[in-house]
Each structure stands twice: as structure tokens, then as C-alpha cells.
Symmetry: C2
Amino acid sequence: MSEIPLPLGFRAAGLWAGIKKPNRGFDLGLLAADRPVDAAAMFTTNALVGAHVAVCREQLAASGGLVRAVIVNAGCANCATGERGLDDARETARLVALRLGCRPQEVLPISTGAIGAHLPMPKLRDAIPTLVDALREDGAEDFARAIMTTDTHRKLESATFCADDGEARVTGFSKGAGMIHPNMATMLGFLTTDAVLPRAAMPLLREVVERSYHRVTVDGDTSPNDTVVLLASGRRRVADGELCEGALLDVAGRLCRQIARDGEGATRLVTVQVRGAVDDAQASTAARTIATSPLVKTAIAGRDPNWGRILSAAGRAGVAIDVAHAKVWVGETFVFDEGRPFPEREPLAAAHLAKEEEVVIGVDLASGEAGVDVWTCDFTADYVRINAEYRT
Amino acid sequence: MSEIPLPLGFRAAGLWAGIKKPNRGFDLGLLAADRPVDAAAMFTTNALVGAHVAVCREQLAASGGLVRAVIVNAGCANCATGERGLDDARETARLVALRLGCRPQEVLPISTGAIGAHLPMPKLRDAIPTLVDALREDGAEDFARAIMTTDTHRKLESATFCADDGEARVTGFSKGAGMIHPNMATMLGFLTTDAVLPRAAMPLLREVVERSYHRVTVDGDTSPNDTVVLLASGRRRVADGELCEGALLDVAGRLCRQIARDGEGATRLVTVQVRGAVDDAQASTAARTIATSPLVKTAIAGRDPNWGRILSAAGRAGVAIDVAHAKVWVGETFVFDEGRPFPEREPLAAAHLAKEEEVVIGVDLASGEAGVDVWTCDFTADYVRINAEYRT
């Protein structure tokens, strides 16, 4: 596999700073632009927030939304750490700025890992100069590896599109399985592009996140540290703004599917399709209710096309549903149609669940025209084992 | 253990009618009053409902809230079964009424079991006369066993209180673990008393359910068949209405704790205490969010006093929380207090989780005066195994 490149104007690096135990891989990553660039960031909706959430908000306000670098540590969430936690995050940003030669407010410090422990600042003070010196145009892989916690593989995706003077690029990074790790915390996403953004960074990021990161769920547990950052170096002019938006969505969507597929203990990537909803909000509510139902997810782990659990989850979502005309499908097989079950079709549906690694389940609520797809994974005994035994 | 008695004016029976496979225990139960009695019933909020929900509503409207008998089958939910399902439920009630010699609308037919299958009416037609003939004043145990599905033991509780002319009694029955069995469906509850109710049956039942059945959660999956019925024979006059209400709450609460303790694969009954909430609604939202968090529940299965997961679940509940003054406790140990963790206390908290079968976790949101207790269970690999392998 050839190295995935960064967009023009970005460099990256990763190393082991000693925050994680030895032999657990890199734990400190840096993603830097050659000059301060257009940026936007979105954070967790949890009322408990990691120190970096407050500090990043301060930084973005102070810099007017210009960012030179993002430094990310794994292995320590710096969450529930009080004033000292805020100071540590601020110092981390200052240390990077000093070595890079930029203003401190242009650096976003981001943390992921266990809640309740302080950042090992002596180790960060030691490592940061080395990390800055290690920045390279081909450092994407190292950065992607440095932000991993319980991920089984690094999540790095890229796409190109036509710019006025050649090819523009979006490269994105993610870690974690979102709501699955509030302790070994967090879903993180970093989207970089060399294109001039077709519109203001913040509304653009909101739109992309709404259609990607907000459509992944593993266990419904939102982390205090969830963060998505968009950085645009503006080195490529793009006549057709939709190309840029499309590439961002494409890369973010692929990262999200990787997150769902890498859910703890998961054996199946599950796309939950809801159709026939009254409006987008109801479609989304129904899809999330199905996608977080332990009974639906354990049925998929058991390769059981259990339409009763799917329909029942839709039914308790509090959305309009006309059961007499509703449909439920598994793969391409309608196992419940116009209000009645078709048990004779279940073997086909079961075969889909057994054979495919990416499976589809869906419900038509028969109440309107709106629909949505949400990504999740199945729910296995290994998920419980990982989360029961972790920390013990 | 001596037999638990029914209140005056009630008889009960249970038998195997062949709805479940042989050697799986009774599957048809009957609870009957000697004459039509004051009744109220509450049903699932799921938009998908079992046939009995619609038919019971018809019956109660037609009888003016007077009920002579409740017939319950296990092994078949009669849900997603269309018009035929409604007809089958109505016929079941008629068959009981015919043999008992009452009006058909005075019988409530209730079903629990797998979704999507029709009731085996020939078997019911055969069994119902025998079942009516088997009614006995000491039939409580048989009825309690007849309504079980995946329950590991029958759930039957009783309490007495002072009536004007001796002793009044409340006897209650439950099955299932509520939201845990939407397929082998359903949480059912039956509360009987010989007391004259101190106020109208429906608001009284609503109050009792709000403070009992609405405070149990196993996996957040509300069944299409959930039903609680209150029946009062009025044979005992009680001067102090609060005694009757207290006994109903006591019995319902004990049944709910049994439900949580009997959650599929559970090893711990967990009481989730929320304090310091702005109001009751926020207390309840926070408590349910914690009690349904897979990460909190797997931590308890691992005997890990993981306050980060508890606090994070409270944080994402969308309620007011002042993290800087919040507290988290496990047993009687504050593992997080006034915004900071106390790792040195965690061994004490871990010992509580390891030693006790009934454990307590709690959060003070530091935002107001309201509080609530909710019951749930831990979440083990056995839960996943049971729900993944069931039906396969």
C-alpha cells in the first residue's frame, strides 16, 4: 500500500512520548500547517468535558479561527482534572508554538485516553521539540498511528478532486469508536484540505459532521472529549465548491464506516436504513434507536434476521409509524411487509447476515418521505469482556 | 416457604396448554375475582403493540373498568399478527367468560412470548375450561409460574396492612425483565388487593407505576406487550388510604427489584441513585441514562468502580450538572467528590461491587434538590450470549 499523502501545506509527525506504556505504540501526534490556516472545530455535547475542549475554544476565539497546528496525545484524556488540567493543556500548546515559531493561540491541544489522570507534563516537555522537528510531508501515517487508543488499526482516508491548477486533496484521520470509549475516551476526527473552502469553515464542518460523524453509533455513550477539526491550507483554488464539499463528505463517511467496523468486539459493520419517516429528525431518531438497541445488535451478532426486535425498536423511538404498512428488510430481503411477517424468507436474510461483513437492515415507517442511513456494529460478548475487564 | 395467599375475593390457576414446548413449564394462567371488581390497566408506550393491548382497551371501555378475570398466556406475544390476532384475543376472552359465567368484556386477555406468531387457538379452546375449573384460593403460585418466559424464577410478592375489620392484603405478580424481552416479549405486572381503593383505580395505578415499574430498566428496550393491571375486590374497608397505597408501592417495588435482579445474564442488582437534580424529570433522565449505559453496566460486571463512566453518562444525559461540585459514589464510598477523583478510595468501592449482590452507585449533580432511585442490573457476556443465540 502506498503512503497516503497530506494535502499541500501540511506536515505531520508521531512518536512515543511515554504517556502510554511501552510497546503500545505512538502516543503523541502533531499535524501542522506551513502557516496559520482557516479552521473550524466541533466538540462533544457531554456536560462533562475534557480540559482541551475549553482550551481549544479559547484558542480559536483568540486566534480568530486561524490554526497553525494540532497536537494530540493518546493515553490520557486530561478530563475531570480541574484547573491544573486547563493549565497543562495551555502549556502543551505554548510548547508547540515556541518550537514552531507561531502564536500560542494558533495551536490546538487535544487529548484522548483514561479520564481522571493528569497529563505527564515532564514527558511532554521532553517530547515536543523532537516531535516538531520530526514534521514531514509524508508523516500522515505516523500521525494516524499516534492518535489511536483501543483502535485495532489506524484510520486514515484521502480523496482528490479537480482544482483550477491541478489536483486538490482532502486527507482525514480518525480514532476510536466514538461513543464506545468514554473512558479510554473519545472519537476524534481531523479533516485537512489544500483547497480554498467554498464557504465559511464552521457551517461547512457542521454540515459534514451532521452527515458523517453524527451518523455513527457504537453504544450510544458520547465521550467528554469528542472533537472534529477541519483545517484548510487554501493552496488550491477550486471553481466548483461542491467538489470540495463532496470530497470532505466522502472522506469523513469512510472514516466513520471504519469507526463502526472497528467497534469493540464487532464482527459486522451494520448500515441501518430508515425510510418513510415524517421528516429528517424522525428518521434520525428511529435509526439511532435501532442502531443502539442491544437486542437488535445482539441478534445481528447471532446472525438472526430478527425483524421483531427491529420493528419494536422503531416502535419505541417515539416517531410516527404505520405498522399496518411498515416494512422491515435485512439485506435485500423483506422479512416483514405491509404489516405481516414472511418467515419463509428468513433463511435468505440469515444468509446475508452470515456471509457479508457489511450488512444492511432497514425499516420503512410508512409515514412520510424522509430517510437516513446510520452506521453501527453488532454487539458481541467480546464487547462486554473488553469493557468489563478494562481497568481491572 | 409457605404459600403466598391471594387477597380475599380472588382465585387463580395455571397449567401447561401446549403453547410452549413440553417441559418448559406452565404457559396459561388465570386470575379471577368472585365478581366484577374495580380495575385499571396501563400499557406499553411502544407504537408497535401486541393485539391484547387494543383488545384490553376495548374491554375496559365496554365494561366501564370492571374486570372479572385476567387470562395470560406465555410463549406467544400475539403481536404483529393483524386482524386475526385481534380476533384471537377477543375469542380467548369470550371462552373464559363463557365458562366463568360473566360478560365477555369483563375478561382481559394478555399475551407474552415471541413476536409474529399466531395464538394456537385449538389448544386454548381445549385448555380454558380446565383452567377455569382449576381456579383456587391458593392458586397464586401456579398463576405466577404460568406467566414466566425467560424468567429464572417466579415473581410473587405480598404485603398486609390494617383494615377496619382485620387484615387487608396486596398480592402482586410479575414476569420478565421489562425492556429486556421484546421478542420473548414483555414485562407484565398484576396487583391484586381486597381493600376498597382509597381513590380511583387509574390515577392510583399511575402513581404506583411511576414509582415502581417506570424505575426498572434492563436494556432500555420497551416491549410491545408491557402491561400492568390493578384489581381491587373491595372486600376490606381501610380507614387509612395511605396504608393501601403504601402496600401497593411496597409490593410493586419488590417485584421490580426482582425483575432487575433476574435480568438476563445479570449477577448484580444495581440501584442507581441520582441526587441534586434540578427537578424530578431531570433526576429521572440522568438515572435512566446511567442505568442504560452499556459502559457503566459492563464496568459493574467487571467489579470496577469506574466513576468516569458514571459521570460521563450523567454528563451526556442533557440535564443540569455542576461538575466542579458533583459527587459520584459506589456503595458508601465517594470516589469523585467536589470535582476531583479519589483513587485511593477505589479499592473500598471495588470491594462493595465484588462482595454485595445488591450494589449501589450514585451521582450528586450539584444543581438542585431533586432525586430518584432507579433499578437495573449489570451487563455480562451472558446477556449477549442469551440474546444472540436465542431463536438461532
